[in-house]
Subunit: 199 residues, 4 copies
């Protein structure tokens, strides 16, 4: 997600360009404050102060605090680059662990509950997250189809279901705690899901 209004309407290069340091400083300040004080006590003014800028400069880049938090906690590169291989169990375990890692960083864990709550108010955020996951879904879907062709999984198994079960379990772990989402947990979850779709 690129900060707002890099849209086509601008005549390209007109006006003083935005100070690129502000964007980075704002994202960093947001991450720091999320961990320090939590989402509920996070303030636009505090972010601006920590980033060494002002509220107006932030509102020029993000329409609201949740948008800034979203970009700070879930940057574009977060869920990219699954390296899938030949072994289905290894691949699945990697996906489970990767999802867990993405959601259990201190920043993401602090941001998630508040962010989920804002989805009804800011549909754009909602769509952004869905879009981001769409790629992952497609990747997993393809892997599963390959496995079905190889006779490793039932042909009617849905990657959508698997992903939702897995992501949901991670989400619940973050939201409700205090379940330890360690490697043993990853293995157990992988096992259930894998056996669940075996022919």
């Amino acid at each position: 997600m690129v900060p707002t209004t890099t849209n086509d309407a601008s005549p390209r290069g007109a006006g003083r360009p935005r100070d690129p340091r502000i964007e980075q400083a704002a994202l960093a300040a947001t991450r720091e404050l999320l961990v320090e004080v939590g989402y509920a006590r996070l303030t636009v003014a505090a972010v601006a102060g920590r980033a060494g800028t002002t509220k107006a400069a932030l509102y020029r880049r993000w329409p609201s605090l949740p948008h800034l938090v979203y970009e700070a906690a879930f940057p574009d590169e977060l869920l990219s680059g699954w390296q899938l291989g030949a072994d289905l169990r290894t691949d699945l375990a990697g996906i489970v662990a990767g999802t867990r890692d993405a959601f259990t960083t201190p920043v993401a864990a602090a941001a998630l509950p508040g962010l989920l709550a804002e989805f009804s108010t800011h549909p754009a955020l909602h769509n952004a997250l869905l879009t981001r996951f769409a790629g992952v879904f497609a990747t997993v879907d393809e892997r599963l189809r390959t496995a079905a062709d190889a006779g490793e999984v039932r042909s009617d198994a849905r990657s959508e279901d698997l992903m939702r079960l897995m992501i949901g379990a991670v989400l619940l772990g973050v939201l409700l705690g205090p379940e330890q989402l360690d490697d043993a947990w990853t293995e157990r979850i992988t096992a259930v899901l894998l056996e669940g779709v075996r022919p």
Copy 2:
């Protein structure tokens, strides 16, 4: 959850008794407004106004707005009374469908995201929800142990994992939509979980 200050401290009968209609009116108003405007735009003053009372009367009964919302959206009787029988698949499907039903009512769906976000601020609420689920967990745990004894599931299968997978999937459906959590979905999820723990 019983309205708060009706507990021990009261000298029992001193002063004017509380108007019992206020509590019901407040819960009803909260439910209506949750559906109409959503959690984010829900206001104590609005609830009081709709209920025909005042803010002070509400704060006499609930320590804060989230507590009121919690009780309005997740009353005590919500997750009680699973009738488990002999068939494991039927029992599991019932649990999945019951959880889905509890979380997908318009009121619960509107309240959930906001409520989850408040958990970090209001640990009491967090505990209340965990406690409520503890009973369900125990029930499922026992049913699973019975099934293990009967050789229907692996002996190392954890009910905790199953529950978190299942609840997480429901939660994700509510939070992210727009997946249809219909009966076909219930059957598919039940199947994956059931096969996932087969010996």
Copy 3:
């Protein structure tokens, strides 16, 4: 001018009564800050801080900063109680000196320019000031008519003109400085006006 919304609609006595100290503290703080920093640098937040209260409490009493300034700088009792006697020159000199005194206090001098500028934005303020002066005009008008009957002034002399000349001269002295509006000035102005209406 009484702080706002003491209007009839209220059922008289419902709700927590306003803290009377806040009103006095706000007026005092406004007077102090007017002298210390001037009208242009006067801030609602600063007044609230100095008065030991908050912006919201001030906005509950006055619709905007100019209204507060007006009441602080030109309280009801400011232009009341001219003691008119038998000697026309003495009476006129008293009126000139009284007007000068009312407009040259540090508070009034600091408030006047800014307040005059707000009249176009806040017609209510404009009317308030006009209403206040109306009483003075009537008093002077009557005195002049008495003098006309006694043959001391021309019968076509207008008190309106006299007052506007006199008030205007005071205002100009305050707005433009640095003319000394001392007692010699008062005598000279009185003399011009008095001779100006002699038969």
Copy 4:
């Protein structure tokens, strides 16, 4: 008042010359907006927009908005060229009418209150106005001295006092309204002032 930085410092001719249309367009836009929205709602950006230019171009010519307004509402030629003659009453009436005319144009009436309020913040403006009037004062002073020599007025009469009474009355008419400053008013004021200084 000449636009600012066209003074000494310029090396005369280096760089792109200023577009002369911008100055006129800015003054015209300021006059229009003053009448349309008033001083309080007058914005640098709005003036620039109406004038078809930008804020920076305006700040290159005037140090701040009040300076621009001052020049737009009170151009140099405003109070110049009194032709005084032999008859004192005619001369005085001309001065009164001329001052009234200068201050009661829609543009001047809209600009005056705000401009007066800025005098404390912008002493340069204050001085500019005082300087402008200084010429008028000198003219009137000389005319009065001539009249004194001719025995038409008391020798101790001060032109300063007369001018302040007269200007003040005009100012009050503009600031407070709604007194009609018509020709009858001019005659009455002239009469009071003239009789006020008769021997």
